[in-house]
Symmetry: C2
Subunit: 308 residues, 2 copies
């Protein structure tokens, strides 16, 4: 089986690649990204290039590619800071990928959308009927991608599946331009013995899914039969809701008081303005009925990160 | 005041142009379209060109254009028959126009969207909370345009306002590729003494607004202050619901039995497949509160068409 993962140089993309390899050692997996961590090209076929470039996509796809996991994106803070770049990669890039996919034999396309699709005046608890009203360019681009995936699917060009991802915690590595970067930072850095600045109040709620669970969700989204998807081809993934305070307390339970004391609150109005538009509580009946799963609690997410 | 109307060569665009001229004789009105009816260029500055062409848009806009009415589109049946053309005009064209508008001094942009935004599993009565789930490429492109208008507005590039138009009846002229073309045809042709073929059953419901009312809606959408719009910048226009049978009966009341007998039912599966995905009944509380108005009844719409 031939598989393409866009954004394959990223944390989730490379984890997904290893999970795909683990369940099928013969899978031919290509990763497309603007950059790769050293050594990843020894494990997978890595194509460096711009997602919106027909040439790069052409190099990354074969005529018999059967599955595409589309994770590449300029993140929320980045797309907000650079309007043109965000549209170039997140909208034009997605379109270019779908156009290339259209020339294949109806590949399954799993698209990473985001709860940043939601914003504005929201109910206390969102559900499968809540209309996306993004308050960021990133969210807008993700919603547009969902509608493209649905239309290309309806036309029979692809077999698309869009997942609205909660905030993924704990991401490894370094802080990035995502406005949600703090949600991992306040756990990852203290656990590594490093101080972390939290730009939002400790009452801020976050809708969370762990790295392991989201990789499982990508695989499950691919494996479901076409008839198990609604015509919109989009689903809000399950998650758990925690405040920043609850996250830090869980870290304290798992790793001790010293970790907690490494978090400092340093308000950042730009980050707060983006994060406050994001939804915090969901009922995800559709996703649960389709077999997607949330984490049981945040303590287990902290332990997952520690590898214990 | 400098004004651009895209799709200005069409029936609604040219009506809107005359309505704008009627209320401000000094308005400098430019029409952009792929073609124009003879003589229209004696009334308005007419620019012939592709909406998705930066050159055509450049020729149609001035640095001080203050209002843009964006009506140009490949219609529903056309966009369904030619996927690439639909995306080129309806999505790329809208994007190109918004990019050009971004370089101006925050013009008001009134965008003609459509109830074709809705489809799939629908409630009996749609309302302002119903999530768009288009079942045509045209509807998909219109929804994407709405999200772009909202994001360009949020960023302060334009002051956008999107209207989801009901089916406009009675359109003058000839049948076109719009799947809704029959809804005017079954009234227009019989009133002109010509036979008309109706491709859908007489029980088919249609959500209707008259040409006069939709032109009023465009003007009103422009005139409302920015704060009167929700952050989504989109509103479902009010309309009235009639079955094909009720429309034909109203025509009979106004114009006599002979007109009714000129309608023949000739089923067309392609048209039916599109039309059956469209919503028929709405609660338009938001639009009514904003001052948009529906027609009182269909008899008056027939008389409006007859000019009596």
């Amino acid at each position: 089986m031939k598989i393409l993962i866009t954004g394959g140089g990223g944390f989730l993309g490379s984890r997904l690649a290893r999970a795909l390899r683990a369940r099928d050692a013969s899978a031919k997996i290509t990763l497309l990204d603007v950059a790769f961590p050293p050594g990843l090209d020894r494990e997978f076929h890595c194509v460096t290039g711009d997602l919106a470039s027909a040439e790069a996509i052409g190099n990354a796809l074969d005529g018999d590619t059967q599955a595409i996991y589309h994770l590449a994106a300029v993140v929320s803070g980045g797309a907000e800071a650079d309007f043109d770049l965000g549209y170039h990669v997140n909208m034009d890039g997605t379109r270019a990928l779908l156009e290339a996919a259209r020339k294949l034999a109806k590949p399954r396309v799993v698209y990473a959308s985001s709860v940043a699709a939601f914003g504005g005046t929201l109910p206390d608890v969102l559900d499968d009927s809540t209309t996306p009203a993004p308050q960021t360019s990133y969210g807008t681009q993700k919603v547009i991608g969902e509608y493209l995936v649905a239309d290309y699917t309806r036309k029979g060009f692809i077999d698309g599946r869009s997942l609205r991802l909660p905030t993924i915690v704990v991401r490894p590595g370094k802080p990035n331009l995502a406005a949600s970067s703090f949600a991992s930072g306040i756990i990852r850095e203290p656990l590594a013995g490093v101080a972390s600045e939290c730009p939002v109040p400790d009452t801020t709620g976050v809708w969370i899914l762990s790295p392991s669970r989201v990789v499982e969700a990508f695989l499950h989204a691919h494996d479901l039969s076409s008839s198990e998807w609604p015509t919109t081809r989009v689903v809000n993934l399950p998650g758990i809701t925690l405040t920043v305070r609850e996250m830090i307390e869980a870290m304290g339970r798992v790793a001790g008081r010293e970790a907690v004391e490494r978090v400092k609150f340093v308000p950042d109005a730009r980050i707060q303005a983006i994060v406050k538009t994001w939804p915090v509580r969901f009922r995800t009946d559709r996703a649960l009925a389709m077999g997607f799963k949330a984490d049981s609690d945040f303590d287990s997410i902290v332990r997952q990160h520690l590898g214990t």
